[in-house]
Symmetry: C2
Amino acid sequence: MSQIMNKYVDIFNDSLDRTFFDQVVNTKLEESMKYSLSAGGKRIRPVLLLMTLSMLHTDLKKGIETAKALEMIHTYSLIHDDLPAMDNDDYRRGLQTNHKVYGEAIAILAGDALLTKAFELITKDANIEAEDKIKLIRLLSESSGHQGMVGGQVLDMDSEDKEITLDTLRKIHRYKTGALIRFSVVAACTIAKANSKTFLLLDAFSQELGMIFQIKDDLLDIEGDFDKIGKAVGSDEINNKSTYISILGKVNTKIALEQHVNQALYLLDQLDEKYQTEELKSLTKLFASRDK
Amino acid sequence: MSQIMNKYVDIFNDSLDRTFFDQVVNTKLEESMKYSLSAGGKRIRPVLLLMTLSMLHTDLKKGIETAKALEMIHTYSLIHDDLPAMDNDDYRRGLQTNHKVYGEAIAILAGDALLTKAFELITKDANIEAEDKIKLIRLLSESSGHQGMVGGQVLDMDSEDKEITLDTLRKIHRYKTGALIRFSVVAACTIAKANSKTFLLLDAFSQELGMIFQIKDDLLDIEGDFDKIGKAVGSDEINNKSTYISILGKVNTKIALEQHVNQALYLLDQLDEKYQTEELKSLTKLFASRDK
């Protein structure tokens, strides 16, 4: 996505490549898991976690397994979302979706196995203590389960072909995409044992960032470049999906985006001086200006 | 299934009914999760965990959340197994399968959410310490993921319509059904902090029990009563599935069953005197003599 992310993307991908899948029972299943894990993701969530950890002056080693777990949860959710019974997508980021390559049954099971593996990875992390592992597993399960990402997915399905309010739209995004973005930042605070002031500021910041990410997604759907965003421009309107633009109009959506950016930057400014770095600010601006 | 299980089934179901699903995001999703959780399961795994804990003179309270987590994993696997892309079953235990009631998309997501919730429950258990929680989550994820239950499911799919050896059949069962039965016993040993002699004996016992369960399943498929087993008698042969009977023949299958029962009882006899109770022995015999 950009220069400022590359360093963290490289650290992450390098470690992911070396992830040991021990006790292989069936190579086809593991192949399918790895296929989707390495299918060109932008690694936004792992980068956000590692970048926050770096700002909090904490060894990145302490966050790498949690970052992998997080990316496994994100990846399983994409595999299951793409299934014929859900969005029925044949392509993602220019590559065939998991079930197009391996069949529906393996795709369902690969998703299940990635979700399960996420929690296993955290238990085996040699760099953090048991109490912190429990906090992270609890946070990750809450963020991704029925009261988090999966709950948001059902809310979203329930809202298809309906007129919804801005409040409902914000609720969908808070759970469906916001919960894992929030986890990225809050997990870093947990690992770094941030004090409560830092924790609260960064928690609030992560929620602004989630909003920025989603509003920009809606804008890219009408203004983006097909080759870059990898899907048909205007697909939300064709699919009769409520978006910020359909509810607020384009001008007000851009104003809302700017407000969230300002609020995110303001929150970062309130952090103690030792945490004042440019990386998270640049990432925030990048979230709002990205073209894919 | 029988008198000796009832006490534990009651304790388990009573606690499960009171499980708090906090922060309800979408009631339909939670309804779907609860539908399958309470759809008349025999609770074999929770009973086995609690019965082993009782034998090890440990407060059942320490095992109840892990037992619920285990049943959630088992339940999610049934929901996903029943999907059209997998076994395409309309009924289970006389009730409509999850996707027949709630649709495929919700069924996939309810399975995902139950799998996620299982790990959350263990993190929130107030009765066991952090180190033990980590051991249990690690064991449960290994038992149910790509190197456990899910791996076994793929092995099983790969063996359909093929002639397989007894070794392959045993491998399928060791992972597909054996891994969670083993977890039930090994989790109890972990919670009770059993010494290594007890741990090794009960681990070996649990693997015999898994074999007994599966061999009896194969026998019930040809000798069972439709009304009791809840599926057509002879369905394995119709579906061209390899079983103990298709490989060994009926007479040798019954001899194998008896050998595993004897070995399981022998292992229990080797336990220290303070662990000599009749419950697990009765349960072993019940596994081999059950009619459903």
